[in-house]
Amino acid sequence: MYSTIMVPVDLAHLGTLTKALSTATDLAKHYDVPVVYVGVTSAAPGPLGHTPEEYGDKLSSFAAEQANAGGIKTSSQTLVSHDPTTDVDDALLQAVKDTGADLVVMASHLPGLADYVWPSNGGKIAAHSSASVFVVRG
């Protein structure tokens, strides 16, 4: 049914992703397909790494942990953005193309007032990508 599942992760807020992560693992087992974890960072030093490499290393060990814990195949991909605050959606859309994922599993917050002004990440990915999108409420 699916060939690759893509899961956008924010390493700084893993706590909010628990449900989405286990959903992705379950789906990966069910369809026997690999999961690719995608993280967006900037070239400037941030809390998660002084360079994009450092960030990439953290993301790839995160992917390995998930593989061990869930018994699935995983990989990771780091995306570098000039302005992550505003460009996350576009970066993720690009990642869908690059990874060839046909199912995106992502966490979302409860829609609030601000979503009328700025659509949520999940909403935008669903509207602009050819992949199926599973938005998991936290």
């Binding site: 690719v36 960072t41 030093p45 941030g46 000039h82 605050t85 505003t86 700025w118």
Partner: protein
Amino acid sequence: MTDQSTDQGIPEPEGASDIIQTDYEIGQDNIEAQIGPFGLDIHNPVFLISGVSIIAFVFYALALPDQAGEFFGWLRPALTSTFDWFFLSAANIFVLFCLILIVSPWGGVRIGGKDATPDYSYPGWFAMLFAAGMGIGLMFFGVLEPAYYFGTPWGDAPLGVVRPFDENGMLIEANVEEARRMALAATSYHWALHPWAIYAVVALALALFSYNKGLPLTIRSAFYPIFGERVWGWTGHIIDILAVFATLFGLATSLGFGAQQANAGLEHIYGIPNNVTVQVILITAITAVALISVVRGLDGGVKILSEVNMVLAFLLLIFVLFAAGAGTILSEFAAGLVAYTQEVVPLSNPFGREDTGYMQGWTSFYWAWWISWSPFVGMFIARVSRGRSVREFIICVLLIPSFVCVLWMAVFGGAAINDMIANGADSMVKANVIDNYSPELSLFAMLESLPLAAITSTLGIILVIVFFVTSSDSGSLVIDTITAGGKIDAPLPQRVFWCTFEGAVAIVLLIGGGLTALQAMVISTGLPFTVVLLLMCIAIVKGLRSEPR
């Protein structure tokens, strides 16, 4: 169970660089909170103290307008006159420092690591650094300054050059050539190497310590080699707060004055009333466009607007060039370059000068002004300069903008001086710059001496406004990053807050008075920042020494 780590998303392997090992974690002092629908991620205490002290100073200027006006009205000239030698010497040091870096082996160090590739292409990069760094000044001073030096009767002629007008305002033929040559040289001196060297020092220090050393992208990081771990404490807080303070008030007061200039232009051309209401509408419109730009982000907003800006400015430049006679003006440009080269040494001599009116009233004022803007412009340039080698960086931040500025001044100043020579007492430029000093109209007066004035003046006003937007949006990004402790992925509402706050401060000061007082205050911060910049030069050398080349 495999881990096929693919890292195609990373621009290129970064290669060797020399990361500073520190226990400080970026964002460790930050407060993350959720207020209603808005997420926050702010540095404690930089965000709060900056915001509160800005509000306090606005209240001070509004509550005690005379006292504030008197104090800062005294402080600014007192500083630029007393410390003229210091400002001039420091600026000379920055120019020499940059020129030495170009030819030194350190020029080969690459920002972002040995194998980093540039984040932006040359045109986009250049448009952004130019639009943030100078923009509006070119519109305001491009005609004013050369015309002023050419005809000034107030005894502040550069290097005491002869006057081309006699007491009745008639032209003295014999003095024209020399006065014109010196006017272009003296203007170019304020817009070419020195200001860009000031920006380059700040930008290089921040880029190096952030992209190569792994420290957060914020002003304090450049001081790591000097203060060590103490930069994460109050020493660093104060540096960052000062930078936010100077940037926000610098932008807000310029926004206020810019609205007045645009309004003067609108009145001049279309007869739109010149009053506070129109100016408040202008500030609101500028802030609204800047808001759209910051919400669209660095690539989708700021970069595109900067490029639009460059195209418009280039069109105006080409028009003035041909309308005023390309042959004459281009020879003017060549003459301007020669004059600048000949006079830059005497003009930048800090000691034993007799033309103190020019040296203190203009040069020292300008240096303090550029320096007070340098944290903002420098940090913005740093952010977009990853992947360039130090040599490329300095050539593009120092030499090419200098060249463009000399060209701009030769074209606009040359056309203005031509008008003063050709039309003598009837010259509109002379009327607005010398006879009846109204600097905000100088550009429009020059455009009126050329054909199609209605179209070009409108283009001029649009440019003034767009230049403000491009300063305002990049400034908001910079303040947002500093007040988020160097995180560049802080939640969107924060940059929206700073952009709006800046417009609000401008409107309050415009209505309540206090623009002049607070601008004088900002320029006064140039003095402490000069010391800061000198320390940055030392930090750059220390930082470059350990980098692989």
